[in-house]
Amino acid sequence: MRRVFALAAVALVFGCSVDEAVRPVETAEVWEGTLAVDVRGAADVRVVSSRSGLLASLTVRDLDVAGLFPMPLEFEGEGSLEGFPEARLTLTTATAALPSATTGPCAGKPIALALSLSRRGDEARASGSLTAYCGEKAYGVPARIFRLTGDLPRQ
């Protein structure tokens, strides 16, 4: 949210036309925090959701991934914020592709990564997974599911 306001302020300072100045500014929601990965590891997570889509950025560190992909992992994926109103649940999803691995269980294949983070109501706590699939499809039998938990508060 702060970023959007900053952009609007810059536009006004640099003398936009009246039409441009009153054009509705797209609001965005941002969540940011550090989640535990498989209890021992960590991931710095930033999720930005707006009407134009959702962008999730993760930096995964301090984790033995058995050569699945180079560490630290930088993940940036597009996705969506999915609502389950009857369950007071939202699910943050995003997917991304990594180039072919040279080692590990996906050697010789690209890796599809999928983020799925659940949240109850307005709680800061988020929990879910970062799942790695060998190949281009983000489904099937995972090469590995990394467990994510921690606080991801709204900024």
Partner: protein
């Protein structure tokens, strides 16, 4: 955590009974020594990361390392015993997933298993792909799991036994129909679950349970004047403990087969053999006695697990706490499983309506759901890693399901749809479900929440149909509960793996209370009223008793510092109305997406 406990192995009891029985029984009874070695490659679901104080890689094994140790140290050595003694037979049980792991990383063990099972020396029992709490979820989830199990066994050429024993000894009378539908023939009903309901009397040597047969895992001495049968169960426990000196996979440094433990097992079985026992399989036992013994009608049997006295029945997995209670969040884990169940069915329905080819995605989602529903995510003593294993698999199943639904909407050109998984109808609908209006409470419910605020709202959404919403505020209290008032009528609920509720005489049992999982959420309060838990918000056990008609739902693992909202439906009528609501809510739901 599956179990960190020291047990007196049934083995010793079997040997004791073997030494006594010849003096007690009539001349020349046929003697059978039976077993159910329950192996669970998800014994430490997700691996040991975080279990110890320090991140010592020698102790905090990965999931794959734990699985490999289970197979190498506890499973394959057992196979070797039977390869070395071809006259002996036994029953081993595993989830379908374990066979995948064996085939992928332990080809020699697979070959041994195939040899022993093809010859019939070993029965390989498997009723579920994952060691999941299938009694707590609609049958459809188990159907997918059972189909995947059979495919896995067929794929690797291992005959799937027609005998059934399950994770945590889950069993119930409702399994009979599901078993028959999938080619299973004999259920091993855990002795303690049986005696918890009906006392310690000797069981019959064989029961007729619907169209399948049933034995209990209690040894017996039977003599009808014509035929004498002695059975002794030499091992009914976690198979991991048999040749490792009761050490389990949470402790990798000592979880090892040793020559001394292997020799002990062999010597014990030789003693049984010397006492006249045929060390054999359950299927061969049933075949041997079926022509001579008239199967008995079992008493009413409620759904449960194998050690109801120490776990308070199934409640340990549905609201009860264990050793690492700080990290438990049973309701969170179990409701996520229910939400994923609904979403996967909705995805399948939406894809069909849109003509979208999504069967592989839906199947992958159901496989993940089976893993998510693993028992160890909520009991007996789950540590943080296991809790998060359940959540992680459920959320990924949810993501896959929602991806299919979103693409179905795009294909249909609709922004908002109603998906009816019961009828298969998908239609434009942005209105959402009927919310009803707030009304005065038709009954008085009792809510406990310690230092948390609680607020109860009743909404009437149709004549005789109310939605009860209980909102718990933030606080430190971990124990939340609600009690619905009832009358002392028959127990009215839908047994696990069935689709229609039954009435069971409340006075047919010896227990002072019982915990029911309620796979469709339904439990009767009186002849004319039922309550249904909305499993997307509350999925804890329902406590019933022979002395009160009240029904209590309790969660001892509600996370401190977080709010909670539980939703129930209260339905008036003789039962059919409530069954329809339960089905439409938890089994084959309508969802607005």
């Amino acid at each position: 955590m599956g179990r960190v406990r020291v047990k007196t192995r049934a083995f010793a009891a079997a040997l004791l009974s073997a030494s006594l029985l010849p003096t007690l029984a009539r001349a020349e009874p046929r003697r059978f020594a039976l077993s159910a070695m329950h192996f669970n490659v998800q014994y430490v679901a997700g691996g040991l990361a975080g279990f110890y104080g320090d991140a010592d890689p020698a102790l905090e094994l990965t999931a794959e390392q734990v699985e490999d140790q289970i197979i190498a140290e506890s499973f394959e050595p057992v196979l070797d015993i039977f390869l070395d003694h071809p006259a002996w037979g036994a029953n081993v049980e595993m989830q379908g997933y374990m066979l995948d792991v064996i085939a992928e990383r332990h080809p020699e063990a697979l070959e041994k298993l195939r040899t022993l099972s093809v010859s019939g020396q070993i029965e390989v029992m498997s009723f579920h792909y994952s060691d999941q709490l299938f009694m707590a979820y609609p049958r459809e989830d188990w159907e997918r799991s059972a189909d995947l199990t059979r495919q896995t066994f067929d794929k690797y050429g291992v005959p799937l036994s027609t005998t059934v024993f399950c994770q945590e000894g889950q069993a119930g009378a409702g399994m009979a129909e599901a078993m028959a539908d999938h080619g299973y023939e004999t259920l091993i009903f855990p002795k303690n679950l049986f005696s918890y309901q009906h006392g310690d009397a000797d069981p019959a040597p064989l029961y007729q349970l619907g169209s399948v047969q049933m034995v209990t895992s209690r040894g017996l001495s039977f003599d009808d004047g014509k035929d004498g049968v002695d059975t002794s169960w030499w091992f009914v426990d976690d198979g991991e403990l048999l040749v490792t000196g009761d050490n389990n996979p949470y402790f990798p440094e000592v979880f090892k087969a040793t020559p001394a433990h292997l020799a002990e097992v062999v010597a014990s079985l030789q003693s049984l053999e010397a006492a006249g026992y045929s060390i054999t399989t359950v299927a061969k036992y049933v075949a041997a006695i079926a022509g001579d013994v008239t199967p008995a009608e079992p008493p009413p049997l409620l759904d449960g697990t194998w050690q109801p006295n120490s776990t308070d029945g199934i409640r340990r997995w549905l609201g009860g706490f264990g050793l690492w209670w700080r990290d438990e969040r049973d309701n969170d884990v179990r409701t996520l499983g229910a939400i994923a169940h609904r979403e996967l069915l909705a995805a399948e329905t939406a894809a069909a309506a849109a003509g979208l080819a999504a069967s592989e995605e839906v199947a992958a989602g159901f496989r993940l759901l089976a893993l998510a529903q693993v028992t160890d995510a909520t009991g007996i003593n789950p540590f943080r890693g296991e809790v998060e294993y359940g959540i992680a698999h459920a959320t990924e199943a949810l993501r896959i399901a929602r991806s299919v639904i979103d693409r179905s909407k795009e294909t249909l050109g609709e922004e908002a749809i109603r998906i009816d998984t019961q009828t298969g109808e998908v239609s434009p609908d942005g209105a959402g479900p009927e919310e009803g209006s707030v009304v005065d409470p038709p009954i008085a419910i009792e809510v406990t929440s310690g230092d948390r605020d609680s607020e109860v709202t009743f909404r009437r959404i149709a004549e005789g149909h109310y939605v009860v919403t209980i909102r718990f505020g933030v606080g430190d209290e971990r124990l939340l509960s609600v009690t619905f008032p009832g009358t002392l009528t028959d127990l009215f609920y839908t047994p696990g793996l069935t689709s229609e509720p039954v009435r069971v005489p409340r006075d047919a049992f010896v227990f002072d209370h019982f915990q029911l999982a309620l796979s469709d959420g339904l439990i009767g309060l009186s002849e004319g009223r039922s309550v249904i838990k909305d499993q997307a918000t509350v999925h804890v056990a329902a406590e019933v008793s022979p002395t009160t008609g009240d029904v209590r739902f309790g969660d001892d693992t509600a996370p401190a510092g977080e709010t909670a909202t539980w939703v129930f439906h209260l339905v008036d009528g003789e039962g059919a109305e409530a069954a329809a609501v339960a089905r439409g809510l938890n089994v084959l739901p309508r969802l607005w997406r």
